[in-house]
């Protein structure tokens, strides 16, 4: 053991160094903890979360043309689209649209298949429920989109 090593051990320099490190870390500005329900976490831009069926913001009409492509694209067959023929215009009109979240893996294939950008996966991640019934979203819920509870600090 050299002389300097001996003095390091006797004067406990290593321990004091460690103590100074922990002391310096006490500044609250080092803390990155998110206060979750009070503070929304930053979600990645391309995160795929809860579904939303987009509507035309000006008229409030649905963008969906009931082409059934999303239902065909869904690997788990979770999307059910039903439509009726509008007698006046002769166009297909959307009647019901349901998404079953219970087996959805949020692959985003429905989003890719949609030709009018009607179905979209939003960045909302809070869809825990007390019963399984709520997992099937109907057209009304989908058009309203996710409604996260906002807490204030």
């Amino acid at each position: 053991m050299s002389v300097s090593q001996f003095f390091r051990r006797v004067l406990l320099l290593d321990l004091i160094k460690g103590l100074s490190v922990t002391f310096r870390y006490q500044q609250p500005k080092h803390i990155y903890t998110e206060q979750y329900p009070l503070e929304r976490p930053k979600i990645a831009e391309r995160y795929r979360g809860l579904h939303r069926l987009n509507v035309n913001p000006e008229t409030g009409e649905t963008l969906c043309i009931a082409c059934n492509l999303c239902a065909l694209a869904c690997p788990e067959k979770l999307i059910k689209v039903s439509s009726e023929r509008d007698a006046a215009t002769g166009r297909k009109k959307l009647t019901t649209y349901t998404v079953d979240l219970s087996r959805c893996m949020f692959c985003g294939l429905c989003e890719d298949a949609c030709s009018t950008d009607a179905i979209e996966l939003t960045q909302d991640f809070e869809f825990a429920l007390y019963s399984r019934d709520g997992l099937v979203l109907d057209r009304e819920q989908l058009e309203r989109g996710p409604q996260p509870t906002v807490y204030e600090k």
Binding site: L15, G18, L19, V21, T22, F23, Y25, Q26, Q27, P28, H30, I31, Y32, T33, Q35, Y151, E152, K153
Partner: protein, 416 residues
């Protein structure tokens, strides 16, 4: 009766010396309540400081900045199911936490919070504290044995070995400080108040006496007291990663909280021994350098100033809290707390109160430095391995302690 009550206030001695049982009882109640309050506060401070050291926030949800967390914890622990293992030795299992808490609180009888602020002054005060304090090992062993389970038993065995080996080093350090007291009158004293009076008479804290010697003795005691109270880095009896919770693995609810109460009370008690022996007990800083009535008055304003500072901090948080109906109760509570702290500060400015409280303030300030050190160690140092612990105790602390003791005696002989 009234004369019996008020007469004591004019005598400048502890209730024990005055033979006043009523005031002794009042002091015991104040100390009991105060220590319990300190334990609750320590619970919050430890979680908060440790969290900040680990770059976390710590408790934030119960009350502003988690201030009410200790109360929430207490309510949770009291309402928890009290489990006694089927194969446990019921009587001993029941007695173990009681023994630990009783022992931890009994030591406070001789702790001198001020010249007149101790329940009594025994001429063997220090011996009493060390003797009663080391009985907490008995509680630990009882808990480990009565649980009838492997982890608690191993934990309590470790505890007894550790306490036995560190008590010797502790004793050596303590005796060298006691030797220093003999320089004033020719005979040393074991009375806690006498030790502080000796430091006053010699115009020096014993940590600076015979320069490196007092410091080394203090250092040995500072390490041994962490080992005695089973705190990190010497927390082998309750080593979480190896023994789940050590000797209190089988305990839950109220009994477990009694163990915690005993542990923290013992921490304060041992810190107060260190403060009494080496850091001048209740004496204010620089009593020789800055003497005179004016300085005395200035220093006696410190307790009030501390409370005003705390009140200002609480008030600042109160002002900066956002307006929100959900936070109304919290905001009102914090505002009330700030007002209460300010009021206590005002009461402490009144001259008769100020003169009585100043000793207690300086004593508690020195103790709180040690309490912070305990948390700081816990945030910094990893746990010792058991053979390293024994090696440190027997091969380093005890020989150093003996050498310091002999050198102190020799230097003292030369001087007298």
């Amino acid at each position: 009766m009234l004369q019996y009550f008020t007469g004591y206030l004019n005598q400048n001695v502890t209730p024990g010396e005055a033979g006043n049982a009523l005031w002794a009882l009042i002091y015991i109640l104040i100390i009991f309540a105060g220590v319990s309050l300190i334990v609750m506060a320590m619970n919050w401070i430890e979680r908060k400081v440790l969290a900040h050291m680990q770059v976390r926030l710590g408790p934030m949800r119960v009350g502003p900045h988690g201030l009410l967390q200790p109360i929430a914890d207490a309510v949770k622990l009291l309402t928890k199911e009290d489990i006694i293992p089927d194969q446990a030795d019921k009587l001993v299992f029941w007695m173990a936490p009681v023994v630990i808490v009783t022992v931890a609180f009994t030591t406070y009888i001789v702790v001198p919070f001020g010249r007149t602020h101790a329940v009594t002054d025994m001429n063997i005060g220090l011996l009493f504290m060390l003797g009663v304090g080391s009985m907490s090992t008995l509680g630990v062993i009882m808990a480990g044995w009565a649980s009838n389970s492997h982890y608690p038993l191993l934990g309590s065995l470790r505890s007894s070995a550790q306490m036995v080996s560190y008590e010797i080093a502790m004793g050596m350090a303590v005796v060298s400080a006691v030797l220093m007291t003999s320089l004033t009158s020719g005979t040393g004293t074991l009375s806690m108040i006498g030790i502080v009076e000796a430091q006053k008479a010699q115009h020096v804290w014993f940590i600076f006496k015979f320069f490196p010697l007092g410091l080394i003795a203090f250092f040995i005691f500072a390490v041994a007291m962490v080992a005695e109270t089973n705190r990190t880095p010497f927390d082998l009896p309750e080593a979480e990663s190896e023994l789940t919770a050590g000797f209190h693995t089988e305990y839950s609810g109220l009994r477990w909280s009694l163990f915690m109460l005993g542990e923290y009370a013992a921490m304060v008690a041992v810190s107060s021994i260190a403060v009494t022996l080496w850091l001048g007990g209740w004496m204010r800083p620089f009593p020789n350098l800055l003497k005179g009535a004016a300085w005395d008055t200035a220093f006696s304003c410190f307790p009030a100033l501390t409370f005003f500072l705390l009140a200002a901090m609480a008030f600042r948080t109160f002002v900066r809290m956002p307006k929100h109906p959900g936070l109304r109760m919290e905001k009102l509570g914090l505002g009330g707390f700030a007002a209460l702290l300010g009021l206590i500060g005002l009461v402490l400015l009144v001259p008769p109160v100020r003169e009585r409280i100043t000793d207690i303030y300086w004593f508690m300030l020195k103790v709180s430095v040690f309490m912070y050190l305990y948390i700081w160690y816990r945030g910094t140092f990893p746990r010792y391995r058991f053979d390293q612990l024994m090696k440190l105790g027997w091969k380093f602390m005890i020989p150093t302690g003996i050498v310091v003791l002999i050198l102190t005696a020799l230097v003292g002989l030369r001087l007298s």
